[in-house]
Amino acid sequence: MLQYVTLSIDGAQVKAVKGSSVLDVAVEYGICIPHLCHFPSLSDFGACRLCIVELVRNGRAKVTTSCTLLVQDDMVVRTNTEKIRKLRRNIAELLVAQAPNSRAIQDIAVRCGVREVRYPFRNENCVLCGRCVRLCTEMWSARAIGFVGRGKARHVDFPFGVRPDFCKRCQACVQHCPMTITPCDGPMERGEERLCGKCESQLQVTEKIPDACVLCDLGQGFNCARHG
């Protein structure tokens, strides 16, 4: 039988199935927590850090990722404080400066309120969200790709850089990659990268209830859990 717990998310008392993550519960209740590496039915490993929330314990707030935080009775979570918005904005800024040529990343930047990018743009193809690796490992049990290297050299690759026989070319990794859809105006050439920001109009609705999911289209670029 399913066990339930009651917790408070942004002041609302919500009932949730024991064992589910705060992110899943929040999205289910229509609370928007931006996320990137989280993908329904895959394990969460807390890499993108966009889904950070404040967990209040003994009067002290601790910042942690909601995808890896499992619900507990009497848990108090705040998803949209001034501090969290600022931290999220800074992370989104890092991401969009790294890979501006992805609609998903541009959407996330808009949703997190990035208005300017203070770092020189790079035009990278991968932000190491690890969806492909986890899909290949967990859903297809193929383990054909994995993370290679450490730090700045970390990248996704086949074992020893060669496509193994057990890669079934199912293309699931490509389909679920948030980097495959280019920004609406088409790909940006090197040196032309910019913050797109066109979809900002979509967000007007949300200013009164900043944490509410408004079923915006922004999440389509990266399979927002709400769409899944």
């Binding site: 850090r49 992370i91 700045k152």
Partner: protein, 617 residues
């Protein structure tokens, strides 16, 4: 040797070993620590054995190669017992004289004695050397007494008797109460109360539990854990045995980095010797305790010093941290409750159980008890390992024990806690060194590395160095750490190369705070500390780089210029011959000049000049 089946067996063995030791005549103790190894202690020990053999003294004089004595600057160091005669900078050529004069003749070799720099007088024994006199050596004091690869030496000085006492007299709960009462906090950097950690691990459900010793020390300039594990591995094993009894673990691991070959070897030898004597295995000393230890080697990733990454590495997975929403004391190694402590923490355990919690907690400050070993390195006169009471001021450690700056230079700052710590300026040297005070000041005790810097160090360059280190060592899993460090390095490099902009300082601050709050593990959370602390205490240096376009310390190549002092230059031509870029011209015996366009500012000329005629501008 036969297995020790009971506590009495151990006591008997210890009695006979101690008696045997008392009969020992002269003992020559050669420091075999990392510092003395580097300065050639092995050759000294070999020469000593050869000389003793030649003179037919092998029966009466014992040579003991031990763990680090601490005063690495003066290595190789030897001590001659009885009498505690302290010789430093000993070379193989000195050995014949030492044997003939001191060992046979009872006379001192004056020139090998330590010279007190202030008075110029020679001192005879170790305890008269100011470097040692001002310390409070508890853990390190055991090193000279023990041959680091001999279990008999350790037992002879009372080793494993604390374990016997614990097994006979204390329940696990009592051990935990004693450790908690002592106020011991984790020596690896976090400073988490050890007693509380053990209590939660004991309380965690599950019958399979693990204890782990973290010897993956990797901070630049730190070698406390290395010298402990090399010098006294049985102390660590005994600590782990007591921990296993308290927690209810049957398996332990020592995770030691492979770059410490001697530590790996000594840890393995210690474990084998303990197994042979039945101090590891089933029903240890006739009690209910069954425990064994395995030595695992780390493959050189700094991040594997982080507890969850270390456990992943032990499991054979990629050494990456995982979120710690569930603590490792509940779900650690193979998802079983695990207690991970640093080498120094484990080494303190037998001493606490031997002397009692009150003995341990009488030293230290309100929140930090006991003594702590620090590795004193950098631009300081007396580099080495020092062990002081918690709460000793930085000034005492750096100026009194460390002897102040090298070559009379003024000390500007000290970097404590490695890449996770921060730089504290000379104005903060009256702060007592304990966990809470240093954290408040924007640094941390960390594992205990202290890198001292003088006026010739550029603080922006220091920040850049640590960022470069962390960029290589971050696992790269989470965004704030991987991209954040990379961007920070980009900005700091811009500043050191003269492309900095004033608004970048605020960006550094904001980015650093974001990394601190949002990174996945402690590496990322603390990665910004070197930048944030230098930015806080040495902002004027950053501003000088940006606004003034100059590097006050004369380090950042893009912002400096070498010029030849016309008055000092004798025209010897040494600089011109040394310059790889042919940037120095001048006729013989006449003042030379530097062609600024060809000069790459490598500084080779300045190092070559015997007249200090090359100035940095």
């Amino acid at each position: 040797m036969a297995k020790l089946a009971t506590i009495e067996d151990l006591a008997n063995l210890q009695g006979s070993l101690a008696a045997e030791r008392e009969r020992d005549g002269t003992t020559v103790i050669v420091c075999g620590g990392p510092g003395c190894h580097a300065s050639g202690c092995c050759a000294v020990a070999d020469a000593l054995r050869e000389q003793l053999h030649k003179e037919g003294l092998t029966e009466t004089v014992r040579v003991r190669v031990t763990g680090c004595h601490g005063f690495c600057e003066q290595g190789p160091i030897i001590l001659i017992e009885p009498g505690s005669i302290f010789y430093c900078h000993v070379e193989p050529a000195d050995v014949a004289e030492i044997v003939s004069s001191t060992i046979c003749g009872g006379e001192l070799v004056e020139r090998l004695l330590y010279m007190e720099p202030a008075s110029g007088s020679r001192v005879r024994t170790e305890s008269e050397v100011p470097f040692y006199r001002l310390q409070d050596r508890t853990l390190l004091a055991l090193h000279p007494k023990i041959d680091s690869s001999s279990i008999t030496d350790y037992i002879a000085v009372g080793g494993y008797s604390t374990l016997a006492k614990v097994l006979r007299d204390c329940s696990p709960e009592e051990v935990i109460r004693e450790i908690a009462g002592s106020g011991l906090r984790g020596r690896g950097g976090g400073g988490f109360p050890t007693g509380r950690k053990w209590a939660s691990c004991r309380a965690a459900p599950g019958d399979e539990k693990y204890v782990i010793c973290n010897a993956d020390e990797g901070d630049p300039g730190a070698y406390m854990d290395r010298s402990l594990l090399e010098g006294n591995p049985h102390l660590v094993v005994e600590g782990m045995l007591i921990g296993a009894w308290a927690i209810g673990a049957e398996q332990g691991y020592i995770y030691v980095r492979n770059e410490y070959p001697l530590a790996v070897e000594h840890a393995r030898t210690a474990v084998e010797q303990a197994r042979e004597l039945g101090l590891l295995g089933e029903n240890i000393l006739g009690s209910d305790l069954c425990f064994d230890v395995e030595v695992a080697r780390g493959g050189g990733a700094f991040v594997c010093g982080e507890s969850t990454a270390l456990m992943a590495s032990l499991e054979g997975k990629v050494g990456e941290p995982r979120p710690k929403d569930v603590h490792t004391v509940e779900e650690g190694l193979w998802n079983k409750p695990s207690t991970l402590n640093n080498v120094e923490t484990w080494a303190n355990v037998p001493l606490i159980m031997q002397h009692g919690a009150a003995w341990f907690s009488q030293r230290g400050t309100k929140g930090s008890k006991g003594t702590k070993i620090f590795a004193l390195t950098g631009r300081i006169k007396n580099t080495g390992l020092v062990e002081v009471e918690m709460g000793t001021t930085l000034r005492t450690i750096i100026h009194d024990i460390g002897g102040g700056g090298r070559d009379g230079a003024t000390i500007k700052a000290v970097q404590t806690g490695g890449p996770s710590g921060g730089c504290l300026p000379a104005g903060k040297f009256d702060l007592p060194v304990d966990f809470d005070t240093l954290a408040q000041a924007g640094s941390m005790v960390g594992s205990g590395g202290m890198v001292v810097m003088d006026e010739s160090t550029c603080m922006v360059d220091v920040a850049r160095y640590f960022l470069k280190f962390l960029q290589d060592e971050s696992c790269g899993k989470c965004v704030p750490c991987r991209i954040g460090i990379d961007r920070m390095l980009e900005i700091v490099t811009d500043i050191t190369e003269g492309r900095g902009r004033p608004e970048q300082l605020d960006l550094l601050q904001e980015l650093g705070e974001t990394m601190r709050e949002t990174s996945l593990c402690a590496l990322g959370k603390t990665a910004a500390n070197p930048v944030l602390s230098t930015l806080h205490y040495f902002r004027e240096e950053y501003e000088a780089h940006i606004a003034g376009g100059r590097c006050p310390a004369g380090v950042c190549r893009a912002l400096i210029e070498y010029v030849i002092d016309e008055e000092k230059c004798t025209g010897c031509g040494a600089c011109a011959r040394a310059c790889p870029w042919d940037a120095i011209e001048g006729e013989e015996k006449k003042t030379h000049a530097i062609n600024a366009e060809a000069c790459r500012r490598c500084g080779i000329c300045a190092a070559e000049c015997a007249f200090n005629a090359l100035l940095v501008r």
